[in-house]
Symmetry: C2
């Protein structure tokens, strides 16, 4: 196929992710997030639907901008309670063969020497199906609880850049390709001359190395990032292989992709070196009428409070200070922009209407219809923006993804724009078809050759 659409599933180890209130919908399974069966059932549905991967979001802290308290977030289970995403990766890999598994982790909390081991372990145990969604931002309450506060002169992307450099050095540069011999005849597991310290001394981290783990199938996991600020785009342009975007309008998406492509080109990378997934929520049924009816039933379960709790956190603006009838054009966010600017192709609706709309799938578009209608709209989005695929949020678990797999995917396959089978190999090989490892001009690939520049460690003669 010359053109193709891609799907990624957007999940989180919590009850209410992007559609607050929908956990009350009859039959919804979101409350089962604490049961491993919730996740393994989902993995089977997504692999049947040939999703590129499942991406598990995360936050450390709680949404407490709304009303200056976490009370609303707790009532609505709006991303709190929230469990560790990492521990879902290997279980998901055990019930699937191809599905990519993207884990979110911040560069603000765990030390890179320890986090590098988590990544290598996950990549080993999943046989190279791991992605890392690099996040730099965090909720204020997460900062308070971990003492991770940055000094005023620090830039969080500067910390992230050094963090990533340490990760690259450990994963790419510390163990040479043939360091592990695992040869019983010579009783030699690893050749010490081929396992190197990294001797990193930086502004934020000093890490002599070596890495604790032998090279995993992909070495560095597939690198995901979502960063819409100028610094975020610069970071993604240099490092991200998959980029997540969240915007309700085609115009904003097209602008974002143009800016990202320009920045990536400046960094020596090409458009085909990264994949862009845009957030969307698809409500598909066997007919337009049935889908619209389902959408209306969903709307009855939206929690306006939950939506405003999330919107307040995302915009840094306490929306509890406004009345339901207040128009969006009146609301100014903490960054000084009008809320309307964010939703500029939309009408100047009231906060109550915005809450209702954003309560289904968050800030991305909601696409409702039978298989043909939805397929037409997704193609139109791709046509207008050049986006590669969609990061699909769910409304109810797992009905949303079951319907995508059951109704929409066959239609897209019929049109020849969606794969019928997975490509073989690691996640990186499946996504880009150019091998398991990072390749130039990606900066991570440059650290692999560092190994040969290190002096050999001292060798001790064998004892007996």
């Amino acid at each position: 196929m010359s053109r193709r659409l891609r799907f990624n599933a957007f999940e989180m180890n919590c009850v209410a992710h992007q559609s607050p209130g929908l956990w009350t919908f009859p039959g919804d399974r979101a409350r089962q997030y604490k049961d491993i069966g919730y996740w393994t059932d989902l993995a089977v549905i997504l692999e049947k639907g040939r999703f590129d991967g499942i991406f598990i979001a995360d936050v450390i802290g709680s949404y407490d901008v709304y009303g200056g308290s976490n009370a609303g977030a707790l009532r609505e289970a709006a991303q709190i309670p929230v469990n560790d995403p990492l521990q879902l990766a290997v279980p998901i890999s055990m019930v699937s063969e191809h599905l990519g598994i993207g884990i979110t982790a911040s560069t603000s909390y765990e030390h890179p020497y320890l986090f590098a081991r988590r990544l290598s372990t996950a990549d080993h145990l999943t046989k190279g199906r791991i992605g890392w969604n690099i996040v730099t931002s965090y909720l204020e309450s997460g900062t308070r609880n971990t003492g991770a506060a940055l000094k005023a002169h620090d830039d969080r992307y500067e910390v992230a850049a050094e963090y990533l450099e340490v990760i690259y050095k450990l994963l790419e540069g510390s163990w040479e390709e043939d360091a592990v011999q695992a040869d019983p005849a010579r009783r030699l597991y690893a050749d010490p001359a081929k396992v190197h310290p990294i001797r990193h001394r930086g502004r934020y981290f000093d890490v002599p190395g070596p890495h604790l783990c032998e090279p995993s199938p992909q070495r560095s996991p597939v690198l995901y990032q979502a960063g819409a600020s100028r610094a975020g785009i610069g970071f993604a342009a240099r490092n991200a292989e998959c980029v997540f975007v969240s915007t309700p309008t085609q115009a904003a998406l097209a602008r974002y992709i143009a800016a990202l492509t320009e920045a990536a080109t400046a960094a020596g990378r090409r458009r085909e070196d990264f994949i862009v997934y845009t957030l969307a929520t698809v409500i598909v049924e066997e007919s337009d009428a049935k889908a619209q009816a389902l959408y209306r039933r969903y709307l009855d379960h939206v929690s306006a409070e939950g939506a405003l709790v999330l919107l307040s956190g995302w915009t840094g603006t306490d929306l509890s200070r406004y009345a339901p009838d207040d128009l969006l054009s009146k609301v100014t966010t903490s960054s000084g922009l009008s809320m309307l600017d964010r939703f500029s192709d939309q009408r100047d609706w009231s906060l109550a209407d915005l809450a209702k709309w954003a309560g289904i799938g968050g800030a991305g578009p909601v696409i409702v219809g039978g298989p043909e209608t939805v397929a037409d709209q997704l193609e139109a989005w791709q046509e207008a923006t050049g986006v590669d695929g969609f990061n699909l949020a769910y409304v109810t678990a797992h009905q949303t993804f079951e319907n995508v797999t059951g109704y929409l995917v066959p239609e897209l396959q019929k049109r020849g724009i969606y794969p019928r089978d997975y490509a073989p190999g690691t996640l990186r090989q499946k996504l880009f078809g150019r091998g398991d490892r990072l390749r130039a001009p990606h900066p991570g690939a440059g650290f692999r050759t560092l190994a040969s520049t290190f002096p050999d460690p001292p060798l001790v003669p064998p004892f007996l």
Copy 2:
């Protein structure tokens, strides 16, 4: 049964754990530690053998005392490479119903606010089968790599005590028992009035809370500890529910248990409030002759270098500075004690002989024979020391545990001193039969009532 023996399996996410060189034994699977099938196959064997649990050790860093270099450790795969133990927990729970899963983690690296979430998540996903092996010590190279160096005046057990206090407050005290309502009719997930900040302000950590996770089946995981120093015994006496001991002689074990019991009594706890497992390696076959023959074949594969690499790390003494013929009585450890003191019931053997002996199963006894011989010896150990059970190291994977399950367990069951089935419930309930949660006089239980002493958080009126 009035008396009973318990087994725990001692593992590590690496190639050579306690028996260096044995990865070269024909058919050994240790090199498959990177494959999840290695772990799931093992879990099935252990559950068939009614083991209390599997306990996954860990180190951060490498054994570089021997020769002042990690070269020996790398050649022998002596606990390096070493992967993250945490990611094995949920997969092991997926193929077993009862087996306890003990994860090792140090109080020196990950912030307790984040680690508390890892524990709760694991306990949720395994439905209450998680134990945490609390370690405070760490290898020098781990310290260098993470910037975790303690200041001279800090005591690592003082840090650990405060770390544990934060964990108790988050896991036991932050969410009241009925905080989670998950009631679709009232659209109330958690009652904010029952989710409390912990407001911890200490010497090492400031953690306002609340905990990010709702209460898991056990809240605090079952607490394991191995600490032989005076401070370690004091810490274990106050906090540990399961204690691991590693000593080659019955006399030393009896002394340790007496000291621990005395310290626990002083802390208001009784002997039945904790379980002591002592390290042992069992080589069992269908007859004494076959077992002895297998032991001799194992000895041919021991790596003396690997054993000395580990012994050098454990004692802080560079044993590469001695000749193979040097007698143990000549060797003084970094703590000023003669190595002979540690192995005082043993003869004054040469370093070469010590390496050979410690190369099977590390510092614990090696018990070789047919089912009756081994059962007799284990009973004798229990008789002489009052130990509750054995933390069994493996020689080859998974032959050692297959043979224990296949030959030894039926003999112990026949004698009526080993369970034929698991008790129902969480790991804590299975081990102690007194409920899922920590109970007084355990100090962790005291933090559960803290909840009611906190003022309620501010409440925001519902939006619509």
